[in-house]
Symmetry: C2
Subunit: 248 residues, 2 copies
DNA sequence: AATACAAAAAATGAATGCAAAATGATTGAC
DNA sequence: GTCAATCATTTTGCATTCATTTTTTGTATT
């Protein structure tokens, strides 16, 4: 039987640089590596994750690996079936809806909080990102657009000055990362223009420090993304793939 | 050397009934028990949690216990110092502010979502809880008030029909449970009356399915709770203790 | 040839063992 | 008498081992 993990003899990747607080103990190292490995989509959805193989890959024994797996399961990235090993969690359409909604709630919250303490400089930085993104939009540069878009949203979360929120946000972002990426490519031209308008509204509310309003706008914005993603997956993720640039 | 754990020879409590999805494997059992044990405040803040002792207590070996500890650490309930064991996480005032704000965001989201699909029956049930709570208010029954209040908020979360949100909410609720409980006793009469008015506004918005409005009200409501809790802790948690009924 | 049963192989869950680090105590120096 | 250094004990981190459960494979029977 073929395993789900591609057999590179080399230990996966170097520990991710800017993740979050995690001690340097071997187990923590493993956790970071494994998380990135899963989030980056190196294992197909629902694919089995044989412990033995991962152990060889990471050159460690099963004990710290299993600890890491338990944590990843708690984070919702994988699921542990009793006596039947770990699988990469398969997200049902309903799961996705739920995740998007929670993300929407978190960003909405981030916006509200950001309005309480964001500085003019931070807003200026976001404005610069906005214009950069507008450039990508004009050039039809999906990849650039996606990245800058992500940066804007992360800037808002950062401006909320709430480390707990930031961590939680990162967790959820990780869970839907693959889908979210492909969801952005699902955007039809019309939706794209719409998103740009929404971003203008976001900036406007931010400038006025209108927390409650921004909260509404961000929620609606994410809700629209959700719809795009769901439709996209419904009609098959490959249909829009041709417009996607190669991923380096 | 005295340990932080009271030495009951009896294995702590029975596995919590209505917690969340967790397989019945020994490890899962342990996880549930330990989580409850910590959440219920059986270990003082910052207290050490010696593995050996817990093992004897739970009658298991260290392996599954350590797995459970890792998960609890990921959930933010305890922290693991490298080579120095586990401690119950001590929440700084800033941590509390952050946690309350995230809770506020989650409830705010729950309200918004609830407005999309809540039934008249569910609203009626919440109304009943509201009147029950009003009774507790009139009788100055803090404990009853606290419990009913909790039920109302949980009903709103349930009405959001989002299992992911519910789980996340439960997680955060667990983290601040002790503080939250005492925070409710911190309420001065004035704040209490204020909270009642806020709850009326919540119900009103809910009846009208005014999602955005409800979102604002809930956020403000939780923010006020936050303030009360912070002030309360600043002046020392014992100052209001005399009004607290005995805990069963 | 297909199905059912059985035995072997593999994988998981938990316990034990061993090395390294930390904690505490004892001893020695000033 | 106080402080510091060394040594013993405890505790943690990880590897290894043992026991079950699952999965696979081979064989026999229909």
């Amino acid at each position: 039987m073929k395993s789900a993990i591609p057999e590179t003899g080399v230990p996966i990747t170097q520990p991710a640089a800017g993740n979050d607080r995690q001690e340097a103990s071997l187990h923590g190292e493993i956790l970071l590596r494994l998380r990135d490995y899963v989030v980056e989509g190196n294992i197909p959805e629902g694919g089995r994750v044989p412990e033995r193989q991962l152990c060889e890959m990471l050159r460690i024994s099963r004990t710290p690996l299993r600890e890491a797996l338990k944590v990843l399961a708690a984070e919702g990235l994988i699921e542990l079936l009793p006596n039947r090993g770990a699988r990469v969690r398969q997200l049902s359409p309903r799961d996705l809806e739920e995740l998007f909604d929670v993300m929407a709630g978190l960003e909405s919250l981030a916006g509200r909080l950001a309005c309480e303490s964001i500085t003019d400089e931070e807003i200026a930085a976001i404005e610069r990102l906005h214009y950069e993104m507008y450039g990508h939009y004009l050039h039809r540069d999906m990849h650039g657009y996606f990245q800058t878009n992500q940066q804007i949203h992360e800037s808002i979360v950062a401006a909320a000055r709430n480390a707990t929120l930031k961590t939680t946000y990162a967790n959820f972002a990780g869970r839907i990362r693959r889908v979210r990426y492909s969801a952005n490519f699902a955007r039809k031209r019309q939706r794209w223009a719409e998103a740009m308008r929404e971003h203008e509204a976001i900036l406007d509310a931010l400038r006025r420090r209108a927390g409650s309003e921004l909260s509404d706008i961000l929620f609606a914005h994410l809700r629209n993304k959700r719809s795009a993603a769901i439709e996209h997956l419904a009609e098959g993720p490959d249909s829009a793939r041709e417009t996607a640039p190669q991923r380096s």
